[in-house]
Structure formats: structure tokens, C-alpha cells
Amino acid sequence: MKHMRFILLGAALSLAACDHATPQLAAPVAKNPAPATSTSKKQSAFVPPSESDIPNDDFGKQIALGRQIFIDPARYAKAYVGNQLSCENCHLDAGRLAQSAPLWGAYPMYPAYRSKNHHVNTFAERLQGCFNYSMNGKAPPLGDPVLVALETYAYWMAKGAPVGASLPGRGYPKLAKPALAPDYARGETVFKRDCALCHGDNGQGQQSAGRTVFPPLWGSQSFNWGAGMEQVNFAAGFIKANMPLGRGNTLTDQDAWDVAYFMDAHERPQDPRFTGSIQATRASYHDTPDSLYGTEVNGRMLGQGQPTD
């Protein structure tokens, strides 16, 4: 029984919405990642419709609204957003880019069973999780115009994609385990060399003319401890394929793991599922080597949820 619970928990961990793994992801990534320039073309046969093809009718209006929410949720879905991020920050090119968890890769894979809550989750439920965790806000209720518009946008983008087939380019690439265990000090070196220019010396990001240009990587304005990017494996895959901006696939795998570890070893807002105890919360939701929540790094217990920035 205890054993059983463990397995279920493990599965649950990898299935939380916009927070953890993609259900049934059929690891589509080639063993030798191609350079940035050819990645999207070679690995994803699927080409989403062009934005200029958004129809000019009432249906098209919902597609366009969904796109606006995705790019600028602080403006178009204000009530549900609790930080300075946008969906596009982690799903590049307005959710179109392969290897950046594109919407066309996600939409045809729902509804999906999640052992976490023992029921089949619709796409809309999946979207709710993004607001709870990645956006550190609150979930729009089912049927809310925000979810309707986002779902319409994703549906339109997936036009022609086979239902239930995990397309190449879906999710983030799954990197092979690194030769050396990810390391804070090495990660800090990578961060200072390749990331701080944009994301700031303290990962706080940069704003200009009142808008987030470079999103915060940790601290009070970033994703919370329940978000998928909190897991070092997801972060490493995203970073390898997409960072530094415009220079994807130039870091070594080792650098990507190290800098992902460094980023995820910083404080951020508390996991909304916090049970009152860091250890209990870790046991329930973070019991994986890929989460640093509830572990001690550099003499600091992570998961306090009180970033000091």
C-alpha cells in the first residue's frame, strides 16, 4: 500500500498542470540536439497556421483575444495574474515555437488522465494550473472568458494536428542526465556569463517603459514553488533549447543543468498547496530529485516562500 502510494505520488508529480510533466510525452527529442537554426524545422514537421490566417469573424475575435492574453496576461487577464511574467515568456513566439512547449503540441493531447486528482483533466483545467503556479495568480473558473479565449487560440493553432498523437517538438526537450551532478557554484558562473546581462545580477529581470522585457527568474515577481519551471529537469530543457534568447542550443548540456539548478535554488513565492510544513509539502508534491523545495542548499532551507528581493 505504502509502495503503491509512492508510485501514485510519483506519477502525480509529473502530471500537475503547467507545473509539472507533460502526460504521455513520448520523448520526441533527437539524441544529438541539432543546432538552433535547424531544430524547429527538422524536428517538428507540424507547421501551425500563420497568424495572418486568423479569420475575420466572431470566432476569429476569440482566437485573437486568446493570443493577446497569452502575450500580455497582466493586461488582458489581470484578475488572475500575480507576477510580472507572461505565458509567452516560457512558450516562445506566442506559443508557436517547437521545443518551447507549443500550444499546437499540447492541445491535441487533452483530455488527459492525471493520477494526481484521479480524474481526467480537460485542456481548460490544464490552463487553470498555469495561472495558479506559473503566473502565481489564481485560476479563472471553468467557462470564464479568459479560458474560453485561450482554448480557442490553442484549438486554432493545432488545426490539422492529429488528436492524441504526441508530435515532435512538443514540451521541452528532455536532456540526458549530466556527467556531473548539477552544481550551484558552476551554475552561478554560467549565470553571470550568459544570463545576468538580461535577467539581472539578482535574477530580478528588467523592465522598460513599464513593461517586463526580461522576465524575473526568481523572487517575488517570478513563478511560484508549484510551477513546472521549479523542477531542474524542465528548466534545463527549456534553457538548453531557448536561452540565451535567440542563441538556443549554444550552451552545453552540463551548463544548462548547472544554471537550471542555480536558478531553482533561489527563493520564490510559496507553493499554493503548502500544507503548513515545508517537509510535508515536499513529501506530498516535491518528492523528486528534480525539485530543490524542502532541501538545503548553501546552508539555506529552500521553500520558505518568502523571497527577500
Binding site: 524547429s40 493570443r67 513566439d93 515555437l97 522598460s208 522585457v213 540565451p244 534568447l245 535567440g246 542563441r247
Partner: protein
């Protein structure tokens, strides 16, 4: 009372000029040169630091101190090749570079005569590159690094608005040719090599027609 104020002013001025006696004065260099062969900057960059659009002399007013300073070092060090500016930068001492960079960073962004907006295909290409980029070529939008409407971000990302089409396209070509190779993480080198000549013309014209105050709404 008035006498007291006047006396104070005189004293302050004296004290001020004394304190600055050794440190080079940015305004003086800009307006008169440095007295050791470097021409006054305003001859090319204009009295208000707005530059001269047609000649490809860039705006300096209101750019960040760190960025201006870095460019002077890069001209001097040869990672930014330009026959006009390299002797200027080489002729300035360390302290003079600091002073003149500080001077221009504190000038208000000058009044800017917008060049006429491009039309047709060029307008579409320019705006698309500026706002969205071209991700099938791994090319981010310019404003993802240069900020909304290209107003610039922090110390490392200079504004594109308020610069002329001639200057902007000169820089993009310089990166393509390797004459400018001073960009951190090769970010601009990487951008420029993904642009065609038509792309460069379109995006340069688009930014030359942008006002320096960003619009309130994010472009679709």
C-alpha cells in the same frame, strides 16, 4: 539678503570649478574638443546630441552612460571599426571618456523629427521584425531586447528609436561584415546575419519613424 545669495553663488561656483579643475569637463569636450586634437563632438553629433540623420551621425543624448562609455572603449580597442570615430575615441583619455559619456547620458532625449513611415510590404516586414521577429530563423523581435517601441533597456540595450534609418542600417551591415563585433554574447551578430538587405532597409525605416515615447498598448 540678495547680496548674501549672490556671494553664496560666487563661492559655490568657485568651489565647483576648483573641485573640477583636474577632472575633465564633459560639456567642454562636447562643445570645444579636448584641447589635444579631438574635435568637438557637436560638430557631428549636434548641439543637442541628436545627431545628423542624413549623415549617419547617431543621437547620443539620453543614451546610458555605461553604453556610451563602452562604445568609446570599443572604437579605441578596434572591436568597432569606424574611420571617423576611432581617432576620436583614441584621442580621449580614460577620464575624458567617462566625462563626455556622463555628459551625453544626462542630456534630455532631443526633439526628434520622425521620418515618414514606410508603407506597403516594407512597413509590414519592418513592424513584424521589430515586434515579433522571425522564429523560423530563430530570430527574436527587436523589441524583446530593445524594449517596447525600441526605447532601450537598462545599461546594455541601447534605444533604436531616435536613431536615423541610415545609422541603423549602417550598424546592421557593420555586424554582417564583422566591422562591428563588440556585442555581448554575440547577440547582435546573430541577429544581423539572419537579416536580408530588404529586412535591414525595412526595419531601419520602421524604427526611424517611431516616436521616442513608447505607445501605451502593446502592438498585436
Amino acid at each position: 539678503m540678495n547680496t548674501l545669495r549672490a556671494t553664496l553663488m560666487v563661492l559655490l561656483t568657485l568651489w565647483g570649478s576648483h573641485a573640477l579643475a583636474d577632472a575633465p569637463n564633459g560639456a567642454t569636450i562636447a562643445q570645444q574638443g579636448n584641447g589635444h586634437g579631438v574635435a568637438p563632438c557637436l560638430a557631428c553629433h549636434g548641439a543637442d546630441g541628436a545627431g545628423q540623420a542624413a549623415a549617419g551621425f547617431p543621437r547620443l543624448a539620453g543614451l546610458s552612460q555605461a553604453y556610451l562609455r563602452k562604445q568609446l572603449d570599443d572604437f579605441a580597442g578596434g572591436t568597432r571599426v569606424n574611420a571617423t570615430m576611432q581617432p576620436v575615441a583614441n584621442g580621449l583619455s580614460d577620464a575624458e571618456r567617462d566625462a563626455v559619456a556622463t555628459y551625453y547620458s544626462k542630456l534630455p532625449a532631443p526633439a526628434w523629427t520622425l521620418s515618414p513611415a514606410p508603407s506597403g510590404d516594407a512597413a509590414q516586414t519592418g513592424q513584424a521584425l521589430a515586434v515579433r521577429g522571425n522564429w523560423t530563423k530563430s530570430l527574436p523581435g527587436c523589441e524583446q531586447c530593445h524594449g517596447p517601441d525600441g526605447v532601450g533597456v537598462g545599461d546594455h540595450f541601447p534605444p533604436l528609436s531616435g536613431q536615423s534609418a541610415v545609422y541603423l542600417s549602417n550598424q546592421l551591415h557593420a555586424w554582417q561584415q564583422g566591422a562591428r563585433r563588440n556585442d555581448p554574447l554575440q547577440l547582435m551578430q546573430n541577429v544581423a546575419t539572419r537579416l536580408s538587405d530588404a529586412d535591414i532597409a525595412a526595419v531601419s525605416a520602421w524604427y526611424a519613424a517611431q516616436s521616442m515615447a513608447p505607445s501605451k498598448e502593446k502592438q498585436p
